[in-house]
């Protein structure tokens, strides 16, 4: 996904001289071609995330379309107030692109995990919160949103799914409508596991790439069913629950720090977000 980010932004920079890249000392090797081609629009500013966001706001205030990029917890949780005030309250919009979704950096431990970013950022006015799950989704969403003047958060994952879904900003995709009494709703890369778990089960399946604004129209269409939200980060469930008169349960993350290492699949298995765990849960809902 990071390579797609680089490729898309490289392409846009060729057409739009207002595109600027600000790195927090991550992905610098990946962006060497960008730096070579557009040296005056590339800044690896170092490990100072608070200032990075404010500086991004300053660039935006003068008509640039900046992409500021570094590791997820550092650019979101650490810099929350700068995002809230300097970008959103001041309406100096820009593109915040994180890398390392949820437990992508499993082996780095709890300091590098991030699962609150979507849920926290969606509470801020004047922001768009995106959770693309594949390279195609990322490419489409960047192109449609990057120069709209608003603050847009793109959450990159090192582990995208490989399912081809229709992509439109703010629109959920109905991947399966079986007329079932149970509707599974999910977002982002975990779709791969959800899709595999549910492929032969009698459920409806709805997929989101946009957490804010959430597609309330599609959600409301399934009001007459039981809704099961499956998520690997907080955010989708809370957004769905803004639609009134739903019957919603959520399968996501326990209220505890993940103090294990290993690989993403190890952690997903432990919290029941592997295909077998998801399937078992969905089957229990179906038989309830």
């Amino acid at each position: 996904m990071r390579k797609q980010f680089r490729d898309t932004v490289m392409d846009l920079a060729g057409q739009d001289d207002k595109v600027v890249v600000i790195l927090g000392d991550i992905s610098h090797f990946l962006f060497n071609p960008f730096q070579d081609k557009y040296p005056t629009r590339f800044y690896n500013m170092g490990i100072c995330e608070n200032a990075l966001i404010s500086i991004t706001a300053g660039l935006s205030s003068q008509g640039f379309f900046p992409f500021v990029h570094t590791i997820t917890p550092f650019i979101t949780e650490r810099s929350l107030e700068q995002i809230k005030l300097d970008m959103c309250y001041n309406q100096f919009g820009g593109n915040i692109v994180s890398t390392g979704a949820s437990f992508d950096y499993a082996w780095d431990g709890a300091t590098h995990h991030c699962y609150t970013d979507l849920a926290i950022l969606r509470l801020i006015p004047h922001i768009e919160v995106l959770q693309p799950g594949s390279r195609k989704e990322l490419d489409t969403l960047i192109r449609s949103q990057y120069r709209n003047g608003r603050t847009t958060y793109f959450r990159l994952s090192e582990n995208p799914h490989n399912i081809d879904v229709p992509v439109q900003f703010g629109k959920a995709s109905i991947l399966k409508d079986a007329g079932a009494k149970l509707t599974v709703m999910t977002a982002g890369p975990i779709l791969g596991n959800v899709f595999e778990a549910c492929k032969d089960l009698p459920v409806n399946l709805v997929y989101f790439n946009t957490i804010k604004p959430i597609d309330k129209e599609v959600i409301a269409r399934y009001r007459h069913t039981k809704i099961l939200v499956i998520q690997d980060a907080h955010g989708l469930h809370e957004a769905i629950c803004e639609v009134p008169e739903l019957s919603v349960t959520c399968h996501g993350l326990p209220d505890q720090f993940c103090v294990w290492y290993g690989k993403l699949d190890d952690i997903r298995k432990m919290v029941g977000l592997d295909p077998a765990g998801i399937r078992k849960l969905v089957q229990s809902k179906l038989s309830a």
């Binding site: 600027v20 005056t40 629009r41 800044y43 500013m45 170092g46 100072c48 608070n50 200032a51 966001i53 404010s54 500086i55 991004t56 706001a57 300053g58 660039l59 935006s60 205030s61 003068q62 008509g63 640039f64 107030e81 700068q82 005030l85 300097d86 309250y89 001041n90 309406q91 100096f92």
Partner: protein
């Protein structure tokens, strides 16, 4: 101590009147920045009749709690009528206790949380350089604000990029003596790579001279100031008066002290 310029005395009168009328305001910190703000607005390119003039220089008040002083200076230079100052902090006023760029003519950024304005100013300075623009950026920070790590992050980036179009004014009024002081600020800013000048922050001419000085690096003007400058009652009790509106008797006393300053 330089004699107080008549214009600066008048601005301080406006601050006292607005605080009295509104029941709000950070008077001592507003008094400490008056000469700095006047020097900036007498140095930079700006047009009060056209606050969004595309060729203007930019000023960002990073220590947003000096808003009342900022508004009084903006009114003095013609951005809006002085009478509007008396609406300070009222529900539907344009003039809040921290500036809102969508409401206040001349306010380039909405500030209040410390350590943000200086970093936004770095971004603006970088943007001007990328545009090959001669426009300059000025930002005013406090010594209390300099407790924030983002101030030093901003300095590192600005000096690394050699943003010579950026001028940082430090209101060194020693308000942090009670908690985390910033001793030897000139040494600190110079060690981060700023072209650093120390001046009496209440000497209008010295400030203008420092602002006019050319630089190849970001410039830091360490302005030695007195919180509440002009009123001994304020300077002797700066913490008590940090955020306080005078009652009628206190107002009369402060006005008298100001006339005698």
């Amino acid at each position: 101590m330089a004699a107080m310029a008549p214009s600066c005395r008048e601005i301080r009168r406006s601050i006292l009147k607005a605080s009295r009328a509104s029941g709000n305001g950070h008077i001592p910190t507003s008094f400490s920045v008056v000469e700095m703000l006047c020097a900036v607005y007498e140095t930079m390119k700006h047009d009060p009749a056209n606050p969004k003039w595309p060729e203007r220089d930019m000023f960002i008040l990073s220590k947003g709690h000096s808003a009342l002083g900022f508004y009084a200076v903006l009114a003095h230079y013609g951005y809006f009528k002085t009478e509007e100052l008396n609406t300070f902090g009222a529900f539907q006023s344009r003039l809040g206790c921290h500036p809102d760029r969508f409401k206040v003519p001349g306010a380039e950024a909405s500030t209040g949380s410390l350590g943000h304005g200086i970093a936004m100013a770095v971004g603006v300075a970088l943007a001007f350089r990328m545009q090959n623009s001669p426009r300059r950026v000025f930002t005013l920070i406090g010594d209390g604000e300099s407790n924030e790590g983002s101030v030093w992050e901003s300095l590192m980036v600005a000096t690394h990029l050699q943003l010579s179009n950026l001028t940082i004014l430090l209101d060194y009024n020693r308000s942090q003596v009670r908690s985390l002081p910033i001793p030897n600020p000139a040494e600190r800013f110079a060690s981060f790579g700023c072209d650093t000048v120390e001046v009496n922050g209440h000497d209008l001419e010295a400030l203008k001279k420092a602002l006019a000085k050319t630089s190849v690096a970001p410039k830091a003007i360490i302005a030695h100031t007195v919180k509440g400058c002009g009123c001994p009652t304020l300077t002797a009790n700066m913490f008590e008066w940090h955020r306080k509106s005078p009652n009628p008797e206190q107002f009369e006393l402060l006005m008298k002290e100001l006339e005698a300053a």
